[in-house]
Symmetry: C2
Subunit: 289 residues, 2 copies
């Protein structure tokens, strides 16, 4: 398969030869935990190459990009075909500046020529029900919000895969959930619509390249037949070192995963406002039954 793919015609995306694969997997997992026997083609090489891009070049995006990303997004599966997501494409500098502020001052939100805001959208079905004079009581349940969030996430990930295949870069902006009511006001969202996260998009700045970030060993994430709760400490320790090595290579402070992640989940004060998600959802009209 490798040879056949390497002979593929000129297209975007990374090279797919065996040594490039080995390099990718070692970047993702560190040398000791990199899996072998991985199946490869251009699409999979693209997925394995993902890196979050926060530094964008000052270059316009190609015509047709938004339409392409939306077509990719809508091609993702949707729970019961309810299609409970929508997306707002933001290019206006003033709106981006306000979004950056809401996200706690992330300047790449301004620098990116395009920000897509992915919405869990229960308002569309509510309006359809109103027009048809039919009840839509299930929209008031927590489960239906889950459906919207999942639909939005599957759709957004397809868009990210698509844009990376075009040699563009992006980064998700979960910090829009710090202040969901302000996002709703800014974008004119009706009740029963939640901005789940953003996606900042642009040409990666070649002067400030992003790198593949290491992840936990698959031994800690993949379970066979039943969940194995043993959580081998050696695999955690290996990851701790792999992440520090990555940070050192980036010129960043060497903070291990354990302390970074535990700091992030230590308590309500670490949630940057998201500890009030229930109140925000109530303000946005969600039932949460």
């Amino acid at each position: 398969m490798t040879a056949a793919v390497a002979d593929a015609p000129a297209r975007s995306g990374p090279s797919t030869d065996a040594s490039a694969l080995r390099t990718l997997l070692q970047a993702r997992y560190g040398a000791a935990e990199a899996p072998s026997g991985i199946l490869l083609n251009d699409t999979i090489a693209g997925l394995l190459s993902h890196r979050s891009v926060r530094a964008f070049a000052d270059r316009p995006l190609p015509d047709g990009l938004v339409e392409t990303l939306v077509a990719a997004a809508q091609s993702a599966p949707s729970s019961s075909n309810l299609q409970t997501f929508s997306v707002v494409a933001v290019e206006n500098p003033a709106t981006k500046a306000r979004l950056a502020e809401i996200a706690g001052g992330q300047k790449h939100v301004v620098e990116a020529p395009l920000v897509l805001v992915w919405l869990a959208d229960l308002a569309r079905l509510e309006e359809v029900g109103r027009r048809e004079a039919k009840p839509t009581d299930a929209l008031a349940f927590l489960e239906t919000l889950f459906v919207g969030i999942i639909d939005a996430a599957l759709a957004a990930q397809n868009a990210l895969v698509a844009l990376e295949s075009l040699d563009l870069g992006g980064v998700y902006l979960g910090a829009f959930r710090n202040r969901p009511v302000e996002v709703a006001e800014l974008l004119g969202l009706p009740p029963h619509v939640l901005g789940v996260f953003g996606l900042a998009i642009g040409h990666p700045d070649p002067e400030r390249p992003a790198q593949v970030k290491p992840r936990l060993s698959p031994r800690l994430v993949l379970h066979r037949e039943r969940y194995d709760a043993s959580l081998p400490q050696a695999a955690l320790d290996h990851y701790e070192q792999a992440l520090k090595d990555f940070q050192k290579g980036q010129g960043l402070p060497e903070v291990g995963w354990t302390s970074a992640a535990l700091s992030r989940v230590r308590g309500a004060e670490a949630l940057s406002g998201r500890d009030r998600m229930r109140e925000a959802l109530a303000a946005l009209g969600f039932g949460l039954r």
Copy 2:
């Protein structure tokens, strides 16, 4: 489409010529709503070609597939790199049979050689906190469950894109959320782990091919700068007809989207047990603050 795709050179995924693209977009949106100017490469063609496969051939899966899908999944972005998802790979026929039953008797869950169950996993961080004697109080918030669900969805979608690029097929199994406590018992999940959905995987049965399902017009899903709540009825009517045409072509009863979707959200009784999601989450130890 069939002809163009069948003529594709020996590689995974569909051919990427302009006429195949037009055919794909018309299948996705109907002729009147198909967007133009879409950017194309093999990866994007693969995304646009998605169809949910529920009929599997009796053929073994390639060696290394699970490892490949997990590497793709872990390469998806993760909120604050918390990596709050895990996955259980189920191949045991008895376990699949039980999962099929939990999902309301979906026989493709048994027929598929592999079922991946995607987990929102807050137990890993809780255990790391216990070992480090650090607090993990933020795990008890609804927002942190959202993080787990989103991490799981982004990861799963990467796996789906990867498997489809290998000419395999799959379908998500949201019905695992009908009975989350039973899924947890079956798979030995510890507290603070939710089975978000499954993904049944196999070789598509060529005798029972799946087709691209039409979606709502992008006019109804994509908003520019601000949300447009007008929801043009003409676009809804067009979709109603496109979906009926699709069903007719599949030999299925012609049920419009409006009536199907509204039936699904009409009330608690349509949620197949998911109206008790809050109780299930409490039983699984989630805080939902």
